[in-house]
């Protein structure tokens, strides 16, 4: 969808800013909000770029730098922590050769940590985009990542 079409879906009121930012980011190929996006939002809402930047930079779900096609968010809150998320995280970082916040060179994955995802009965838990994965182990994580890689290879992107 074109960016201007996305903007047009929302009445130009400041209360819609988070909805608009989500929508733009979800429709951006690199899962982020560019400066141009923020300017467009500022223009649509008849406000300054700095005030939109202030909002976008506050919330952890928004990224102002390009990310991979899939965003991995692994929970580090107390329940997952006690269930051994550190081991899972280390395995994930090893397989992907990534630090927190970084993106794989093929731009397939970005690895992020997050606080409680509300999936504590499945601890340790993570999400990849909108999909929840729970009861993670070092072994299961490898399978999950392999699936995404396979799917991406077969789609040739």
């Amino acid at each position: 969808m074109k960016k201007t079409d996305i903007l047009e879906k929302y009445l130009p009121r400041m209360e819609n800013v988070l909805l608009i930012l989500h929508d733009l980011q979800n429709n951006s190929r690199m899962n982020y909000l560019s400066e141009k996006d923020l300017s467009l939002v500022a223009h649509h809402l008849n406000t300054t770029l700095s005030s939109i930047y202030g909002v976008a930079s506050y919330y952890s779900m928004f990224s102002l730098t390009p990310r991979g096609a899939h965003i991995i968010r692994i929970c580090r809150s107390p329940v997952c922590h006690c269930a051994g998320v550190d081991d899972v995280f280390n395995e994930l970082a090893r397989i992907l050769k990534l630090d927190v916040g970084a993106t794989t060179p093929d731009r397939l994955f970005t690895l992020e940590t997050t606080e409680c995802l509300g999936q504590c009965d499945l601890a340790p838990a993570m999400t990849i985009d909108h999909v929840v994965y729970g009861k993670l182990t070092a072994a299961s994580i490898a399978t999950i990542i392999a699936q995404y890689r396979k799917k991406s290879a077969s789609q040739g992107d």
Binding site: L18, L19, Y59, P78, V79, G118
Partner: protein, 426 residues
């Protein structure tokens, strides 16, 4: 077996949540019809009589809050009252609101319309955390269907009462679950807290009287309307009537959720609802209420799980999170995780919390590595968190003291002796 009740979980798992027909076949929207036939004061009266208290964490009387909102002085013509549903569920260990929204979204919508009628609100917002993709989808679908059936919109069921409800999304800030911060975020601002007073009932969203309630709280209202306040009061305890969804996680056989009467014992939750300790390991502690919660030791296994009994013991019920730790778990590592959580979620607006949450993490780091003077480090943690509780601007900065003080109170020996090499969380 312990009796499970179905009030907020009335239809979860029993209906197709995407089908309004399924919901109506099980008596859905009958409560709304009943409520709309009586004066709005009667709705508020019934909720007050039921003794329903907020399920979002603080336990404030829901009826009283409704009364304040409907009476908030409204002299200006353009004055409009709002109803806001807090669906920002972010407290670690808590996932009850998600279960309701994913499994029975119409129950929340119906409860919200009734509450709005009670206080005379004409616009409503459901603020859902951005990560709850499935909840967002289900609620969006439910709102659309409710509109088509005339349970929302203009002149609802011919009563003359009108209400529109919109979804708003959070974007990954725990603090935005705090009601005043949530209102700032709803208005499209950074999630910085407002100073209380004024309370939302006087000056809330866009400066107008606003009723704000948690998902679970609102989901009790349809059943109260149908069965009456007196019926509801038979459940639970004298001062915490009704049922509560507890989300039980950690080292139990069957982590999950259950709706049981307020006043259930902690041991029943662990041993009867959740199937007991995982691998029959010994119980060490439960963290009640999440990161903004308190540790309780084995000696409190019999405590009655309700707002007041827990308060008497220096603990909190909070959101109903029960995080169970077996003997292999380390209190030190759990504290570490909690303090990092607060450091991460501090909004940075006030110095005591911006600097204090970081200092707490550093102090704990020192404690983890210390060979001697461990007692001094522990005292420093307590001092620092108490200072924060007195000086921080909003409840987030006042929260770390809960976990720290309860850990020190019940597990000081362990904190003084456990070395870091022994204290890995499995």
């Amino acid at each position: 077996m312990i009796t499970e009740y179905n009030i907020a979980l009335r239809n979860v798992g029993k209906i197709n949540p995407a089908s309004i027909q399924d919901y109506m076949d099980r008596g859905g929207y009958e409560a709304l019809k009943k409520a709309l036939q009586s004066p709005s004061e009667k709705v508020v009266h019934d909720i007050t009589k039921s003794g329903l208290r907020g399920r979002g964490g603080a336990g404030f009387s829901t009826g009283l809050k409704k009364k304040y909102t409907s009476q908030a002085s409204c002299v200006l013509l353009e004055c409009m009252r709002y109803i806001v549903c807090n669906a920002d569920e972010g407290e670690p260990g808590t996932f009850k609101d998600r279960i309701i929204m994913e499994g029975d979204p119409h129950l929340l919508v119906e409860g919200m319309v009734i509450a709005a009628y009670g206080v005379g609100a004409e616009r409503g917002y459901i603020y859902i955390r951005g990560e709850y993709h499935q909840s967002i989808t289900m609620i969006r679908n439910a709102l659309a269907h409710a509109h088509v059936h005339g349970f929302l919109g203009n002149n609802i069921l011919g009563s003359g009462f009108s209400l529109d409800i919109e979804i708003k999304l959070g974007a990954g800030s725990y603090l935005c679950g705090e009601e005043l911060t949530l209102l700032e975020s709803l208005e499209g601002k950074r999630g910085y807290p407002r100073i209380k007073p004024p309370f939302p009932a006087e000056s809330g969203l866009f400066g107008k009287p606003t009723l704000i309630n948690n998902v679970e709280t609102l989901s009790h209202i349809p059943t109260i309307m149908i069965n009456g306040a007196r019926w509801y009061r038979q459940l639970g305890t004298e001062t915490s009537p009704g049922t509560k969804i507890f989300t039980i996680s950690g080292d139990v056989k069957n982590p999950g959720y259950a709706e049981v009467e307020m006043g259930v014992s902690l041991s029943d939750l662990i041993y009867r609802v959740a199937g007991g300790m995982k691998d029959e390991r010994p119980f060490k502690a439960a963290l009640l209420g999440g990161a903004a919660g308190t540790f309780v030791p084995e000696s409190l296994l019999d405590v009655s799980m309700d707002f007041d009994a827990l308060k008497e013991k220096g603990a909190v019920l909070g959101s109903g999170a029960v995080i169970v730790m077996c003997n292999d778990q380390s209190i030190l590592m759990m504290l570490d995780s909690i303090l990092r959580f607060f450091e991460h979620e501090s909004c940075g607006k006030c110095v005591p919390c911006r600097v204090g949450t970081k200092q707490l993490v550093d102090l704990l780091e020192k404690l983890k590595g210390a060979d001697d003077k461990r007692s001094d480090h522990i005292d420093a943690l307590v001092y620092q968190s108490e200072l924060m509780a007195k000086t921080a601007l909003c409840p987030l900065g006042q929260s770390p003291v809960l976990a720290i003080n309860s850990a020190v109170r019940y597990f000081r020996d362990e904190l003084e002796t456990t070395q870091i090499s022994q204290s890995r969380c499995r």
